[in-house]
């Protein structure tokens, strides 16, 4: 089975938002964004812009009929800035014109008079001033002080990890149409149609039922269109509603880059304690999350950092503190992994620090401390069905970890210019929305009288292959060929109050709902069959497009559908699914937030040119727990794609702002994602097939976890650098060629990591 959409994609027939027909009388919208990162807006001179032929209007905050508020978690973000701007790129006005060219030109002619205020881009600085969004969160287990007191070795230091631009190839795009009874129909390239609907209703002052949101498909999302597709959709809805004309907005790449948030950069302090046998006895960390100017999803992202701050390791005494620090950059947002990878990076830094100081390979420390069933996470959930050890064992046996390590060490003894590096990255990632109530999915199933099947769920297709999986679920549950099943576009009028397609949970939640809907329909068919032909319900089997039953009964599915219709039996079903047993107490910071965990381990090998600081990723060998994959080619693609995205984050992808809050990595010429050659030369995959009942038909969530293997890329490069440079070396990702060369050839000025050895 292939990707359902693949044939359409390769023929260039898949319509993305900007490809959809748009009426000639439609309006084009271009946002005018703040050129200043922080300041009071004194005046907006729109005279020249209004004079551009084709310009219809320029809308500002005053033109908003409802509430000028788009904050999802915390109401702290206006759609259009009014008195104050808090980041460069913040929308101040909307230029509405007959053509995109006119709107773009006019936007360039608006002059903003802004009284500049001090700009802060550093999260520690913001924290020191008390500029925190939401509350400081603390996850605590055991007694860290006692743990450290009992430790033989204690190491403490700082780690810093950069942001990451989503770089979905399709930029943010949306259109809206006025509908009857004062409503608006929106088509949006969003991962969260319900968020778009809810926010539009709020800003336009309309009930939610007046707003219809449709999502055809996305040219990539990666979290960047979970919350941040919303403002653009609301903007076109505002225009369509006001002028009663269709409106369209497609951000050009430069605007998309400077106006939208990214993966959160983090700074952290860590301290780790080991006993004489090198068991981790205590771990303490403080995380300073660079949240940007508004809350967006930052508090939820922060939470996941805490959930994953000990990665795949057993740590009896933990204290992890985290805060969202308010800075003057665009609000950072969801990105594959959702804060988890940042937490893991810090843990891996602590382990690497310990190992380097003790003169042992980091992987020996990692191996020693892997999670086992019965261990407890700092958030109170007990580890069960852990695959950490199994994955590690397969890595050692099938990919010959010890031998490869030796080869690398030997190579480095004899080679002067080219140094090799190796690192292992085990992962443990919790599956579920950490906001428990969001763990729900819904499915609407129609069988038509010709037996063809139509499915709608809350799932949004963005390349992750969810429609292929849903199709497999329906086909198998109804016993019909996949060709008879069509997955319909996502639409809020078919599936209401949906959760965004995120948290790797989309296929699980919506697939389970679909499974239920199919089951109910089959049950109803069986009742009818028993009525007509006798026997017991379970005597009727649905497979290969037909129903078979007692005494050689056989009927095609299509004929049954028509028959049922004539018998006035409903051919439609709607089902709702929510996994049971999930809970989390925000006061105690304890609970059982995850349906299950996904495990794996990756071995990353690199070669570094110590003369020039350049490097290549030679090979990544992964053992990953996929469960029983529904569509293996989809899952393999998610694995490889996530891994390479994670490697990019750790190597060549560097989000940079200057002190004035201007995005320096402002275009694809200055922000580099992996190309064919920056990706690993070779990826080896071993997929484990453990089972878990919460996973849809045993097929485990795969969207996010593989990204975290990329962290191994940083540590493999660090290992290579260590072949030449033994002095202090800060934990600072990404390891760009610049950082690598400076690390190799100049003394370090960043504060050296601390280490203490307790007297025995």
């Amino acid at each position: 089975m292939t990707h359902w959409d693949a044939l359409s994609h390769v023929c260039g027939k898949t319509p993305y938002l900007d490809d959809l027909p748009f009426p000639a009388n439609g309006l084009h919208v271009v946002p005018f964004d703040s050129p200043v990162a922080h300041g009071h807006v004194r005046a907006l001179d729109i005279g020249a812009a209004l004079a551009v032929p084709g310009v219809v209007a320029i809308l500002t905050a005053r033109d908003i009929p409802g509430e000028n508020q788009i904050g999802g978690i915390i109401p702290d973000e206006p759609l259009l800035a009014d008195h104050t701007v808090e980041f460069r790129g913040q929308p101040l006005a909307l230029v509405v014109a007959e053509s995109n060219a006119a709107a773009t030109k006019a936007a360039g002619l608006i002059q903003a008079e802004i009284e500049a205020l001090p700009v802060c881009t550093d999260p520690r600085e913001a924290a020191a001033r008390g500029d925190i969004i939401g509350r400081v969160r603390t996850f605590e287990m055991g007694d860290v002080s006692a743990g450290f007191a009992s430790a033989k070795h204690v190491f403490s230091g700082r780690a810093e990890v950069g942001g990451q631009e989503h770089l979905y190839l399709e930029t943010q795009a949306t259109m809206a149409f006025p509908t009857m009874h004062d409503g608006v129909r929106i088509i949006s390239s969003t991962q969260g149609p319900t968020a778009v609907q809810r926010t539009t209703a709020r800003v336009l002052g309309l009930p939610m039922h007046a707003i219809e949101v449709e999502v055809t498909r996305l040219g990539g999302g990666f979290g960047g269109k979970e919350d941040q597709a919303t403002p653009w959709a609301v903007m076109v809805a505002l225009v369509a509603h006001r002028f009663k004309r269709p409106a369209k907005l497609v951000l050009d790449r430069l605007r998309d880059l400077r106006m939208t948030g990214k993966r959160h950069p983090y700074q952290a302090d860590y301290q780790i304690g080991l006993d004489a046998d090198l068991n981790i006895v205590a771990y303490q960390a403080t995380f300073f999350q660079n949240a940007g100017a508004h809350a967006d999803l930052s508090p939820a992202v922060l939470e996941r950092t805490l959930f994953h701050c000990t990665n795949a390791y057993r740590v009896p005494n933990v204290k992890a503190v985290a805060m969202s620090c308010k800075t003057h950059v665009p609000p950072n947002t969801a990105f594959r992994g959702f804060g988890g990878p940042q937490g893991m990076f810090v843990m891996e830094s602590a382990l690497c620090h310990a190992a380097e100081s003790l003169g042992i390979p980091t992987w020996q420390l990692q191996k020693k401390n892997l999670l086992r069933d019965g261990d407890v996470f700092a958030y109170g959930q007990t580890v069960s069905e852990s695959q950490a050890q199994t994955c590690w064992d397969r890595l050692e046996s099938d990919f010959q970890l010890a031998k490869r390590w030796q080869q690398v060490e030997q190579h480095n003894q004899t080679s002067n210019r080219y140094k090799r590096g190796l690192a292992v990255m085990p992962i443990c990632f919790g599956i579920s929305f950490t906001k428990t109530h969001m763990n729900q999915g819904s499915a609407l199933l129609h069988v038509y009288t010709d037996g063809s099947v139509l499915v709608s769920t809350g799932a949004v297709e963005m390349g992750q292959g969810v429609v292929s999986k849903l199709r497999a679920v329906a086909a198998s549950a109804l016993g019909v060929p996949a060709e008879r099943v069509k997955i319909e576009y996502t639409n809020t009028t078919r599936n209401a109050n949906t959760s965004p397609s995120a948290a790797s949970a989309t296929a699980d939640l919506n697939g389970k709902a679909l499974d239920l809907a199919c089951q109910r329909l089959i049950d109803r068919f069986r009742v009818l069959l028993v009525q007509d032909h006798g026997g017991k319900p379970q005597d009727y089997h649905f497979h290969e497009g037909k129903v078979t039953g007692p005494n050689g009964f056989e009927m095609t599915f299509d004929a049954l559908a028509l028959h049922a219709h004539f018998q006035r039996v409903s051919l439609s079903e709607q089902a709702f699914y929510s996994p049971h047993g999930l809970h989390f107490d925000l006061e105690k910071e304890k609970g059982h937030p995850f349906a299950y965990h996904v495990y794996g381990a990756a071995l990353v090998e690199t070669t570094l040119d110590s003369m020039l600081g350049t490097y290549s990723l030679d090979r990544v060998s992964v053992v990953h727990d996929l469960g029983r994959s529904l569509v293996p080619i989809v899952d393999q693609g998610q694995l490889e794609g996530g891994l390479v995205q994670g490697l990019g984050w750790m190597t060549c992808e560097e989000v940079a702002y200057d002190e004035s809050g201007r995005l320096r990595s402002h275009a694809l010429s200055t922000y580099k994602v992996p190309d064919l050659y920056a990706a690993p030369k070779e990826i080896e995959l071993i997929c484990l097939e453990s089972n878990h009942s919460y996973a849809i038909r045993g097929s485990k969530a795969v969207g996010e976890p593989p990204l975290m293997y990329g962290i191994g890329g940083y540590f493999a490069l660090r290992h290579a650098i260590r072949a030449q440079q033994k002095g202090p070396l800060a934990f600072h990702a990404p390891m760009t060629p610049e950082r690598a060369l400076l690390a190799l050839h100049t003394p370090v000025r960043e504060p050296a990591p601390q280490s203490v050895t307790n007297a025995p």
């Binding site: 260039g12 979905y168 393999q636 060369l741």
Partner: protein, 462 residues
């Protein structure tokens, strides 16, 4: 009037010559299979095929280009093919392989990959897996991680080697790689009247890979002089004891030219410059005139000790060392209306190396680049040309360092001194491509590598 073939349709248009081809395709013609990912040449989602007719052989040669940057005026007399132009035979072997290997996820990048591989199939380069990978060096995919795409590259190579007895158009048509209408194209292109390139007045516009990035809207409203030329008119040739490189030569022309056979790994070095679809259109003159302090071709030709020919009407109204051409940041020794016609490069028994380091090895602008050419005689350095980019407001010819090395017997001490001199000659600044400190260090390291490589046989310990 611009006339060309778009897929199987003849197009005649009066649109502005600097209109990006992509806009014409998507907006004027509603062919939305070609995607806009960046409009800066950096993602490849907009790749299409550009076919030039060779008037002699009546053969149409196809290349991939980034349609977001190629000016519409340049396509006069050519055949432009978008993904819709394959519809008759879709899915063709490229498309089938991508489906089979799962090499498309969100699909937004996909038509670009298809067209880049179509250029590979239609081209006359080597049919190797490596070449099939190089064909997509200008295409970014954010979803797949490239492994499945690499498998497609292998599949296509095998399939082309297997299915094509004769690697010509009729072979490709009968094996269903391209639709049958391709057969009619040579005759149809021949019927389009030629226009004289380089006429009119205004700003020179060549491949557009700088201008359409820098002033995309403005340039469409200006009058321009189109100086991009058909492949047959972009010569790189030996001329007595020197080489002549036409200003209109593209980076691909340089890469394929046998005139640089004397440089080991020449093609590998040139592949560090932009990407296949950009190299196919970016010109030498454009690179020099753009005067970027990190322009790769500027550095490369400075270190070849090239002379530049400029003039309003004629190539050789003025000819002087390229080293004198770059006056200050984006200031050139070029009078208004003067065109860059080409470069003259001394031949001779010498060694040459170009180095470039950027954040990402391919399709990236250098943090620092450098090139060095040496002429040796009797164990002595007879002559040196050394240039470096990213370390000054201009592509820098390192005069002092070059002069210092001349006449010296290469040894470690001399190199040490040369490094010190070079470090005095440069003044890097901190920007998004690296801190000043990094750039200084990086040039030192590059110079060490130049010494090590170029003097390898001289048995000097560097």
């Amino acid at each position: 009037m611009i006339q060309f073939y778009l897929n199987d349709q003849r197009v005649e248009t009066d649109a502005a010559p600097a209109t990006p081809l992509l806009d014409f395709i998507r907006t004027h013609r509603d062919l939305v299979g070609t995607k806009a990912g960046c409009r800066e040449g950096d993602c490849g989602a907009c790749c299409v095929l550009l076919g030039y007719l060779d008037p002699q052989s009546k053969h149409v040669s196809y290349q991939s280009i980034t349609s977001c940057l190629f000016p519409l005026g340049n396509v006069h007399g050519t055949h432009v093919v978008t993904v819709e132009g394959l519809q008759e035979i879709a899915p063709n072997p490229v498309q089938t392989a991508m489906v089979t290997r799962g090499a498309t996820q969100c699909g937004f990048c996909t038509p670009g990959f298809v067209m880049s591989w179509m250029a590979f199939a239609l081209g006359d380069g080597a049919l190797t897996g490596q070449a099939a990978e190089q064909a997509i060096d200008g295409n970014i995919c954010r979803c797949t991680g490239y492994q499945s795409l690499k498998q497609v590259a292998q599949d296509l190579t095998a399939e082309l080697n297997r299915s094509l007895g004769q690697r010509d158009l009729s072979g490709l048509v009968s094996a269903c790689w391209v639709p049958a209408y391709f057969r009619d194209i040579p005759g149809q292109l021949a019927a389009i009247p030629a226009v004289s390139a380089g006429s009119g007045s205004g700003r020179f516009l060549a491949g557009g890979t700088d201008l359409l990035v820098q002033i995309p809207e403005q340039i469409q409203e200006e009058s321009v002089v189109l100086v991009h030329r058909q492949p047959g008119k972009r010569s790189i040739r030996e001329q007595g004891d020197s080489l002549w490189v036409d200003g209109s030569a593209t980076v691909t022309d340089l890469l394929n030219s046998p005139c640089f056979d004397w440089i080991p790994n020449w093609t590998d070095q040139l592949r560090l410059i932009s990407s296949t679809p950009i190299r196919n259109i970016a010109t030498v003159a454009g690179n020099l005139a753009n005067a970027s302090p990190i322009g790769d071709l500027s550095i490369l030709f400075l270190a070849m000790d090239a002379e530049i020919s400029v003039g309003i009407h004629e190539p050789d109204e003025r000819r002087f060392p390229l080293a004198d051409f770059f006056l200050d940041y984006k200031k050139l020794l070029l009078n208004p209306g003067e065109r860059i016609w080409g470069l003259t490069i001394p031949k001779g028994d010498s060694r040459f190396q170009f180095l470039k380091v950027s954040k990402r090895t391919y399709l990236d602008i250098a943090s620092v680049n450098s090139a060095m050419r040496i002429w040796l005689k009797d164990n002595h350095i007879q002559r040196v040309a050394l240039a470096a980019g990213g370390v000054a407001p201009v592509p820098l010819y390192l005069r002092e360092t070059s002069r210092f090395l001349e006449g010296k017997k290469p040894d470690a001490q001399i190199f040490e001194q040369a490094l010190a001199i070079a470090n005095r000659e440069i003044a890097p600044i901190s920007d998004v491509r690296g801190s000043a400190e990094y750039k200084r260090l990086l040039l030192t390291q590059q110079l060490k590598v130049h010494f090590e490589t170029l003097f390898r046989d001289e048995e000097v310990a560097v």
